[in-house]
């Protein structure tokens, strides 16, 4: 899963974190089994200390079982875009089409956009992420 935010007033949005945007990262996850594997191992490091009854750990192991039994193909790619602009389907439509092309039949793709009424730069503070 990949979540990005943008307050760029032009469409489609430019995504600014790191060296690649959300779509590029989803493309990599779609096409590269090494990238998918790295992300799942990263998730593994997030859950290994949790108790066996923790819901996140239960879900992780269930997903891992599906992934391994499908020879590393059964995955769901989820992209979430958060914007503080006027909603428009243009933000996602072309990208969804491009990503859906040649998608492995065992993979699932879901892109979502959330349009919020506050300035995105203020969001971390509003959500008390930044003290």
């Amino acid at each position: 899963m990949n979540a990005k935010s943008s307050n760029d007033k032009s469409t489609p949005p430019q995504v600014l974190y790191g060296r690649s945007g959300m779509i590029k990262q989803l493309e990599d996850l779609k096409s590269s089994s090494d990238t998918r594997s790295a992300l799942i191992r990263w998730l593994g490091f997030k859950v290994y200390k949790l108790s066996e009854s923790d819901l996140f750990k239960i879900d992780y192991k269930k997903a891992l079982k599906a992934y391994l039994s499908s020879h590393a193909r059964r995955v769901k790619l989820i992209g979430v875009l958060v914007r503080d602009t006027e909603p428009t389907v243009k933000d996602l439509r072309a990208r969804y089409k491009a990503l859906a092309t040649n998608l492995d039949k065992m993979m699932n793709l879901e892109l979502a956009a959330f349009y919020i009424s506050v300035n995105i730069a203020e969001l971390p503070e509003l959500m008390e992420i930044v003290k």
């Binding site: 060296r19 990262q25 992300l39 490091f45 391994l68």
Partner: protein
């Protein structure tokens, strides 16, 4: 599950296709015989793929057992033994794979190999590899002017000298390399950040911050190996790895994040193995 002659029963391991694991070990064991008789140990593409998939499966199990890597309590010793055995098996499989030719692929491969050697209690095998095959792991830094690349490559070399430690000179070399980064920072850093496209500046700066903390952790381990100080080296490297991982997470460099977690445990193991404790 039977893993190359060892019966290991673990939940995540049991999700794997046993025939896939068997095939991978059969392949590499056969190649050893083939090498002894014919001098040929090369793997076909499909064999490489099979071995890589087996490694991936074992790694999921290893990560699930990661919390037991430094376990000392009696009640979890079985889990610790499983962890060590799986790390060794992973090392054995990885060691049979061809080393990637591209620089970053090679660096990641060899650092991972180092981790599994240490955590699988086979560090002397890794050391022998570094002594005997310098032409394989060395990299050319002379024309490397990109600061992030230069830092990462220098840190890699410094770690390998630390692992090889065939003489005090290797430890000195490890320290020198990290010190060279301090003197080069003023020469390369500004130029690098100025050349990065505006949209990637934040990510580039956070990546550098992550690498600076990794360099400091390597420096601390080198100093400890040379001088036996600082006495609180474990706490100090944990501080720097926590920072380094936090920056890598912030910029979402998953592979760096994974590498840092593995190196943190590798360094802890190096320190525990050190005669000074």
């Amino acid at each position: 599950m039977n893993i190359d002659g060892d019966i290991i029963d673990h939940e995540v391991l049991n999700l794997l296709d046993e025939s896939l694991i068997k095939k991978a070990f059969d392949t590499i064991n056969l190649k050893k015989v083939s090498k002894a008789f014919y001098g040929d140990e090369s793997l076909t593409e499909s064999e490489i793929e099979a071995v890589a998939r087996a490694i991936e499966g074992l790694e999921f199990s290893i990560i699930d057992l990661w919390q037991y890597s430094f376990e000392t309590g009696e009640e979890n010793l079985d889990s610790k033994t499983q962890f060590q055995k799986l790390c060794f098996k992973c090392f054995k499989l990885m060691n049979a794979l061809p080393i990637p030719e591209d620089k970053f692929g090679k660096i990641k491969h060899i650092l991972k190999l180092t981790t599994y050697a240490y955590l699988g209690e086979k560090w002397e095998d890794m050391r022998r590899f570094l002594i005997e095959r310098q032409e394989v792991w060395s990299i050319d830094q002379t024309e490397n002017n990109d600061w992030d690349d230069r830092m990462f490559s220098t840190i890699y070399l410094s770690i390998l000298y630390l692992v090889r430690k065939s003489s005090w000179q290797d430890l000195d070399e490890s320290v020198k390399l990290i010190n060279s980064l301090r003197s080069e920072q003023s020469k390369y850093e500004n130029q690098y950040l100025n050349e990065v496209e505006a949209q990637y500046k934040r990510g580039a700066a956070l990546e550098l911050a992550s690498l600076y903390h990794l360099a400091k952790a390597v420096d601390l381990v080198s100093e400890y190996m040379l001088q036996g100080s600082p006495r609180d080296v474990l706490e100090q490297i944990s501080f720097h790895f926590d920072k380094s991982i936090a920056y890598a997470q912030n910029v979402r460099i998953v592979e760096l994040d994974l590498l840092l977690r593995m190196l943190h445990s590798t360094f802890k193991k190096m320190i525990f193995n050190s005669i000074r404790r």
